[in-house]
Amino acid sequence: MRYFLHRFLQATFLLVGVSLLTFLFSALAPGNYFDEMRLNPQISPETVAALRAQYQLDRPMPVRYVRWVNSLLHGEMGYSFAYNSPVAPLLWVRARNTLLLTVIATLMAWALALPLGIWSATTLGRLPDRALSGVTAALLVIPDLVLALGLLILAVRTGWFPTGGMVSVGYEDLAPLQKLRDIALHMALPMIALVLSALPLLVRHIRAAIAEVLSTPFLRAAASHGIQRRTLLYRYALRAAANPLISLFGLSMGGLLSGSLIIEVVMSWPGLGPLLLEAILARDLYVVIGGVLCSTIFLVVGNLVADVLLYLADPRIRTEVTAR
């Protein structure tokens, strides 16, 4: 229990740190949402000043931070100037879409990478391994942006997938199952891009971890005892190689989130990415801070999940913790 408490406290510190950091950036920033208003001759300077006062932008940074934390505790996360609404509900809708995309993509990437990586490790140096290494190397040198744009062009020219948005026109009139199908179809393209961008690194790490374990004496002994190949690989080898892979799961979250940011914008998936971009262009301060914080929360939660899994998978960590 203390192990988790410790981890939880660490995560909280991280979130506080990130929020302070983004606030610090924002305080250093020249200009804000109302500066452009000031250029508009139809809006008097008094109005702009009044608006600034209303949103507390004329107060020093510590005061603003405290007020923001206060509004965070009330479930608002500050106020969006452009949308004229509290930030949290705006973020929530978008964050849900981003989560939908990244969680499914993560699961799919792992579901693909595990058998591929294991296959590669068992045929080390032979044809399947070489072919897979070639494919992962090729995917590794194609950046997210290039991949996403390429897929988009492919989709537009072939018409295999709908492009842009999350639902078709007339979505509201569809039956529940058709709604699901519609979303799944729209999700296919960003999903493929995300899975393909995450896959090479995963396959390579899984291959390395499994190959290392396979060469250990205890697995050779197990193999010579005549234990079935499948049991050997998925029960013994995978279990022994689990530790670095679970840590990798936590680490790969950051890459996936960054990847989904750009893929969402390119494929106009209504997630956090497009919202953040709009907010940056409009200088909508609290939405930017909220978006960055939201992504950090995803990352922290992903790492916490990895920690829990590690705790469950590795008895050494459990005994270490209880011994402390």
């Binding site: 924002s26 690194l201 262009l281």
Partner: protein, 349 residues
């Protein structure tokens, strides 16, 4: 299995690729901002050796393109009007490396404009723009990596060498930076900087932003090396002889970090080139009319371009060989360093 000097081959490939971009003025037939409003979104011209009558020509040539009759945007080859390709021609003025005024180009066609990779919305030559765009993108990547490594080394060496509260503080902040999703951090930083700026300002702004975001990872690696290096016998001996901190760091400790820094450079440069591309693609980077690989791709955000002008995707493919070579160099360097581990760039790209 792998030869010791493997990285040298990658380095040569790297030099060749960068050389092509550095000599963009020579390899590109036209100025990247020169417009031809008569021919927007012209598809890539085909280079022929065989003419319409089936005769063979030694000198490669193209056919002039004109609008298909009854169409506003479809071009077709005019087989009556051949454009012979000429080499080492005198054409548009340019400044090599920014100062050497020259007019010599590798190829060109004095009679007519030639579009190897088609043209963009303003009839600017896509091929020339990709070459010039590479200068901006690669320079941003290189300078950004230089800045990052400078700060990373400085901070990592300070933390590792002096230890104590400096180490604690710096490494906590580094953890913060490493923990954040990289692209989000980049965006956040860019968000609070001015939006409407001149190309030159934007360029330096981006380098600063990129450099400020990435320092944490190299700093942690350098710290690790410094920590082990300062306990080495020869360092202790030097200190015993009365060497100052500055001398020890400069002469004995920092040279130990060189292989880590080199490997990091090979990893960071392509990552930062991509960062510049991403920012420019989204309109947060170097603005028009200056080409960069990212802003060249921005037109693909329009549906009509996506559907009908596939050659606008060409800049995206230009980055792939650079990525390939940098990644190859990074893994060769790592193998040389004897770590033998598989390359790890989590949190990046």
């Amino acid at each position: 299995m792998i030869q010791h000097s493997n990285w040298k081959r990658w380095l040569i490939a790297l030099a060749v690729l960068h050389g092509i971009v550095a000599f963009a003025g020579f390899f590109a037939p036209y100025d990247p901002t020169e417009q031809d409003r008569e021919r927007p979104y012209l598809p890539p011209m085909r280079i022929h050796l065989m003419d319409a009558q089936g005769h063979f020509h030694l000198r490669p040539f193209s056919y002039a393109e004109h609008l298909r009759s009854g169409s506003f945007d479809q071009f077709e080859e005019n087989t009556d009007q051949a454009i012979p390709l000429e080499f080492f021609v005198t054409g548009a003025r340019y400044r090599l490396f920014g100062f050497l005024p020259l007019r010599m180009h590798l190829f060109g066609a004095p009679a007519n404009r030639i579009y190897l990779l088609g043209s963009d919305a303003y009839g600017r030559d896509q091929f020339s723009r990709i070459l010039y765009g590479g200068q901006i993108s690669l320079l941003a990547g290189l300078l950004g990596a230089g800045l990052t490594l400078f700060f990373g080394t400085l901070i990592g060496a300070t933390a590792g060498y002096y230890g104590g509260w400096r180490d604690g503080l710096l490494m906590r902040v580094a953890e913060l930076f490493v923990a954040l999703p990289w692209l989000y951090l980049l965006f956040a930083l860019r968000a609070f900087l001015p939006l409407a700026v001149s190309p030159l300002q934007a360029f330096f702004l981006i380098i600063t932003v990129i450099g400020a975001v990435g320092w944490a990872r190299p700093a942690r690696l350098v710290r690790g090396v410094v920590l082990s290096a300062k306990e080495r016998d020869f360092v202790r001996a030097a200190r015993g002889f009365g060497a100052t901190d500055g001398y020890l760091l400069r002469r004995h400790i920092l040279p130990e970090t060189s292989s880590v820094i080199l490997t990091q450079a090979a990893i960071l440069v392509p990552q930062f080139v991509l960062a510049e591309m991403t920012l420019s693609f989204l309109g947060l980077g170097v603005p028009e009319p200056v080409p960069s690989w990212g802003s060249l791709l921005a037109s693909l955000q329009q549906y009509s371009v996506l559907v009908s002008s596939w050659w606008m995707y060409a800049p995206a493919l230009a980055i792939v060989p650079f990525f390939l070579v940098y990644l190859g160099l990074a893994s060769a360097l790592q193998q040389d360093a004897g770590t033998g581990k598989i390359e790890k760039t989590t949190g990046g790209t």
